[in-house]
């Protein structure tokens, strides 16, 4: 690198042109020693993840309280700030300044470690979420593998919390969450394999670009709606939300694994749960609903030359990527919040499952169904590839096959298992 040679005094016109400064900055960026960009990328990435995660959680807590209050004929938080906007921040301050209570019978080290272990993988997941084609922490070729690797770590935090609290409710909650998270990991992965099968890549960006043709190319709608449903149900269970919130079932286990937690440690669990819901909703969008592309294919900015028109109007060629990325972030966030909203509606509507029902639902219904789904997708991929060229006609072949085999096979299998299970239960009651 020749750092000293290219320095010239800029003219006044150049100084007034923002694009000049942008070009200069990019030039400078490439001239820096290698370690600096890597370090800075790390810092920016960390900052992005932290801010995005926190901000999303703060918004979602307020949103959830508001949505539930509309559900239940209430006003919801409306005291702090306009329309209760700053309620979550006030709550956060309260939790930060609250006394951190630890009973003498706890395992203090693990008790403190548990929230961190729960939080870290959830926040790390933000790194692989593609918010736009440029705003993506790391575009890994096997981003999906990272997703599953990370999301299975957080359960250790819950089990540790349950164990270290030395409280029976916490222990039961921790054990329930372990069983639940491990079980629901299976349909979660099985349902995604279908997408990978058709895309041929585990990179989320590639998956999104494969669906960039608009609604008819979204996997969740036209190709593998069943996979989407399986993934969504399993992801709701992964983040322990109603109706799968058994680990913290407040009417049974007081508060489950976080019964003994107070102050910021409790807030950490709280934060991580909401961050987890956000990440999994975002991934649902990325995998099945075209990610950052608009429902009409690509982006308006590119398709209809809107970006070019704006660039010409303001005479700033450098803002074109900003415009395109901005629109993509808009689509990504809007779709994500739709799924978050659905999760909130579910919370307002459904009662909680029982542990045995939860396990039964996973092992006797979801897993067989996702296996059959996977088989059907493989079949469709192998034998009707020509129909699937545009991802449209083939999907109907798939749907018809899935309907025939799926309903018969799954129904019969579930019926058989259920009968066995009921006989066992009956035997236990009569014993």
């Amino acid at each position: 690198m020749n750092a000293t040679a290219s320095f010239e005094i800029p003219t006044l016109a150049q100084l007034l042109d923002p694009s000049f400064h942008l070009m200069k900055a990019i030039e400078l960026w490439h001239q820096l020693p290698d370690i600096v960009p890597i370090f800075l990328t790390g810092v920016v990435l960390f900052g992005m993840v932290a801010v995005m995660g926190q901000a999303a959680a703060v918004v979602m807590v307020l949103m959830e309280r508001k949505v539930l209050s509309w559900f239940t004929q209430r006003k919801g938080p409306n005291r702090v700030g306009p329309g209760g906007m700053f309620q979550t921040i006030a709550d956060g301050v309260k939790l930060l300044t609250k006394e951190d209570i630890m009973t003498p019978v706890m395992d203090k080290f693990l008790f403190t470690l548990a929230p961190a272990i729960f939080l870290f993988p959830v926040f790390a997941l933000y790194a692989i979420v593609p918010f736009s084609e440029s705003l993506i922490g790391v575009s890994l070729p096997l981003g999906l593998l990272v997703l599953f690797a990370l999301s299975s770590i957080s359960v250790i935090g819950l089990v540790l919390a349950g164990w270290a609290s030395n409280n029976k409710y916490s222990l039961l909650g921790g054990m329930r969450s372990a069983a639940q998270a491990i079980s629901y990991e299976v349909p979660l992965i099985l349902s995604v394999i279908g997408v990978v099968l058709f895309t041929g890549s585990g990179n989320l960006k590639t998956i999104i670009e494969a669906q960039s043709g608009g609604v008819l190319h979204w996997y969740g709608i036209m190709l593998t709606p069943l996979s989407f449903l399986l993934f969504y149900v399993a992801s709701i269970a992964e983040v322990n939300r109603v109706p799968f919130d058994l680990p913290e079932a407040e009417s049974e286990l007081v508060s489950g694994y976080n019964t003994e937690y107070s102050g910021m440690k409790f807030a950490t669990f709280f934060l991580a749960e909401y961050a987890g819901l956000f990440v999994l909703s975002a991934l649902t969008v990325a995998l099945f609903f075209g990610g950052y592309t608009s429902p009409f294919g690509g982006t308006f900015m590119q398709n209809y030359g809107v970006a070019d028109a704006i660039v010409q109007a303001v005479k700033l060629p450098a803002i074109k990527p900003l415009l395109v990325n901005g629109e993509q972030i808009f689509w990504m966030l809007s779709k994500t919040y739709i799924f978050i909203y659905i999760a909130m509606l579910l919370r307002g509507t459904l009662p909680r499952l029982k542990p045995d029902q939860l396990m039964g639902f996973c092992w006797k219904f979801l897993i067989p169904l996702s296996l059959i789904n996977l088989f059907m997708l493989g079949f469709a991929k192998q034998f009707s590839l020509s129909f699937l060229a545009d991802g449209f006609a083939g999907s109907w072949v798939y749907l018809a096959l899935a309907a025939l085999v799926g309903i018969g096979g799954v129904g019969g299998f579930c019926h058989f298992i259920d009968r066995q299970f009921k006989a066992q239960v009956a035997a236990r009651y009569h014993a």
């Binding site: 539930l68 559900f71 239940t72 004929q73 209430r74 003498p104 019978v105 030395n166 029976k168 409710y169 222990l171 039961l172 109603v242 109706p243 919130d245 058994l246 079932a249 407040e250 009417s251 049974e252 007081v254 919370r347 307002g348 509507t349 459904l350 009662p351 909680r352 499952l353 029982k354 542990p355 045995d356 029902q357 236990r428 009651y429 014993a431």
Partner: protein, 423 residues
């Protein structure tokens, strides 16, 4: 990890159901559910032995809410005691008053005017609705559905406002008197009740749409917590729990008191014997209560309180004048329109010596009161029968072999409230 003994040596000998010295299976987990727990509906403690998530043994420990209501009755006059009996069962306290007041009416042979009986029945049935609404909300809350809870509270508050307009209190009414009620209906009160009766069934449909056919709810309640008729008789279980076994035992129908024999209503029963059957029976009872209230509004002698109060003033004035001038015609006043059967100075009232027991069908089952008087202003002995007391005693056997999560569904379906158990 410290043992229970190290933590509190005094406590150790007082743990019922737990014999630490003898030692128990290490696979078992003894959980003290309560006395402070979100879904024990008060301060009940359930010493539960869990094997995994299956309940092996359970022992209810009660008495945390014991306020010595029976001893209080012996130490103060009936009139002083009356305001405190609202707290025997605070979710449907009109029923407490009814049994208490009826006992004294029986001992002293005080007549009760028809209008009073109808007012009482309206209050009782509205109170049954509020009680069942609270049960509906908390039952579903225990199952994890949070929304119906708030919906039920909205309607419950509406009824409480109606009660407030009548009695001045939202929960602790102290409205019934020996042989009457404290005051007549305020003007327009019956219309308020009628308006509520008109829109409530629609609301109930809405609540049922959320819950009744919900597959998760049905899965959690159907076939769980089966109580047969023999089981109910063994433990003295009454109320909706007994009616869910197909036994149409409702004291309003079988042994009519007040004016229930003049009213047309059905006793909802179900033959499911399980948690879901108890749920359905209670929901249906709310509809029957609405039916009863509507009939009472139509049948109540004297009608709305406003016009009657004006008439009463006129009658009183004219009666005075008629004593001086016999030509003045006093307007017709029916005995049935009174709000007091017999004038009693409550401050100095001494019921004759005697004893009476009275049982009514409260929202939770048979609520009873047994009073012995000895001619003094105080009662010699007052004994309360809370339906929850007997219903709760069935829980340990009912829970054996069920999942820990079923506890909340089954316990919730018994509709036990602790003030009635401990009194």
């Amino acid at each position: 990890m410290m043992s229970v003994k190290e933590l509190n040596p005094e406590l150790q000998s007082n743990l019922p159901g737990v014999s630490i010295e003898a030692g128990f299976d290490t696979n078992d987990l003894v959980v003290n559910i309560g006395p402070q727990h979100p879904s024990t509906h008060g301060v009940l403690r359930l010493v539960t032995t869990l094997n995994g998530e299956v309940v092996k043994e359970m022992e209810p420990v009660i008495g945390y809410l014991h306020r010595s209501k029976e001893k209080m009755g012996e130490s103060r006059s009936l009139f002083q005691y009356q305001p405190t009996i609202d707290r025997v069962e605070y979710l449907s306290s009109f029923y407490d008053h009814l049994v208490f007041v009826n006992c004294i009416e029986q001992i002293a042979d005080i007549p009760v005017p028809k209008r009073v009986e109808y007012i009482r029945v309206i209050c009782l049935e509205l109170n049954r609705i509020t009680s069942h609404l609270l049960w509906f909300g908390t039952f579903l809350l225990d199952l994890g559905a949070s929304t119906p809870f708030f919906w039920c509270f909205r309607d419950r508050e509406e009824v409480f406002t109606i009660f407030e307009n009548l009695t001045g209190a939202r929960m602790m009414y102290n409205y019934f008197r020996f042989g009457g009620v404290n005051n007549d209906l305020p003007a327009g009160w019956l219309e308020e009740v009628r308006a509520f009766c008109n829109h409530f069934p629609d609301r109930l449909d809405e609540y049922e749409a959320v819950a009744t056919k919900n597959p998760i709810l049905m899965d959690r309640t159907k076939g769980h917590g089966i109580m047969t008729k023999e089981f109910c008789l063994k433990y003295g279980v009454t109320g909706p729990a007994l009616r869910a076994t197909g036994e149409a035992l409702d004291l309003r129908k079988t042994n009519p008191y007040s004016v229930y024999n003049e009213l047309d209503f059905d006793v909802p029963t179900h033959t499911g014997c399980d948690t879901y059957a108890r749920y359905l029976v209670r929901v249906q009872e709310m509809r029957e209560s609405i039916k009863i209230i509507k009939q009472c509004i139509d049948k109540i002698p004297g009608g709305d309180g406003g016009a009657l109060a004006i008439l009463k003033k006129e009658v009183e004035a004219k009666t005075k004048e008629a004593k001086k001038n016999p030509e003045i015609v006093v307007p017709h006043w029916d005995k049935d329109w009174d709000t007091m059967g017999k004038k009693i100075n409550l401050l100095t009232y001494k019921p004759p010596a005697g004893e009476a027991s009275n049982f009514v069908e409260s929202p939770r089952g048979v609520l009873g009161c047994y009073i012995i008087t000895d001619g003094t202003p105080k009662a010699y002995r007052i004994k309360w029968r809370g339906a929850s007391f007997s219903n709760l005693s069935a829980l340990p056997e009912l829970m054996k072999g069920h999942m820990y999560s079923d506890l909340m569904a089954i316990f919730g379906s018994l509709d036990v409230i602790m003030p009635e158990v401990d009194r």
